[in-house]
Amino acid sequence: MRSGLRLPDDYFDDFQQRLDKRMDEDKRSSQNNELNVTSGYKVPTDYFDKLHIDIDEKSSFNTKKQWLAMAAILVVMLSVGILTQPFSSETGNMKISDIEEKQLEQYIKYQYMNEEVLKSYAKEQDMQFELNKALRTIDKKEILTYFDDQLNDLYAYED
């Protein structure tokens, strides 16, 4: 017994042409979305000459913050048992062991690594406090739903 599904006659004969047409339409539509109008904004004199100094300072601060935040989240997740208990979702019967570190990092970045949020914490303690507060109410199902939705996305475009 097989699936019973069949192909329309000659389906693949013109597939390439139809695909080319669709790709051209896609390209045209993305080009149409680009407006060739300047914004009219100006920047202060010497702004870009000084910019690299600011970026260097800020990026080292933010990187440190991101790692601290990620470490804090992992610690709290472990302490509340999120990462140690197997759990299943309605669709995938997914276990925490199915989730790789890379994906977990992705989730944490997606959920918490908003630059604006990070900037709003003046001190490490404030950030830690906020993260702990957020993680006390974390929903395991929410994590699983996220991974069920994102699992393929995370893998699909990277090999």
Partner: protein
Amino acid sequence: MGKKAPQIEEDERLLVKRLQSESDKRSAFDQLVDRYKEPLYWHIRHMVKHHEDADDVLQNTFIKVFRYIDKFKGDSKLYSWMYRIATNESNTFLTKKAKQLKLSSQELQNHLTENLKSDPYFEGGAIEQQLHKAVDDLPEKQQLVFRMRYFQDLKFKEISEILEVSVTSLKTNYHHAQKKVKKQLGVD
């Protein structure tokens, strides 16, 4: 597909190189489409069930392949990477469709299988429809493995490369799936 001879692997490496070059990208892409359109179509078709939807998802898959080919580093086989994109695109399509119809994913599967009766590109009878229904009732991972193995005739080794799951785990999944399907069909 199957165990690739060194020559085929070399061909694939060259094809990827051409796909990632600006000058030769389009002609290499045509070659890629020609080579993989049929296996990818059937992979998608068994997930979304209806031909028009499969056609749409297949085109989306190739568009994504074209768009993201520069992200392909060669750490996995090209066809594994494309299968993953096809699986992802099919899942995205099914999620959207379920939302549109306000159905759960399980209800959507039942709905699609039920509609096969009136699909001009379904030539199976009641027993084939029952088989699809039995597969719909499997857990998601088992559905995928069962469809790839039973309907698409892929080898466990190939499925393992595509899904990045061990052959042992696949065999276990398939064994459970087969048992459940047989039970549902009353051929236990």
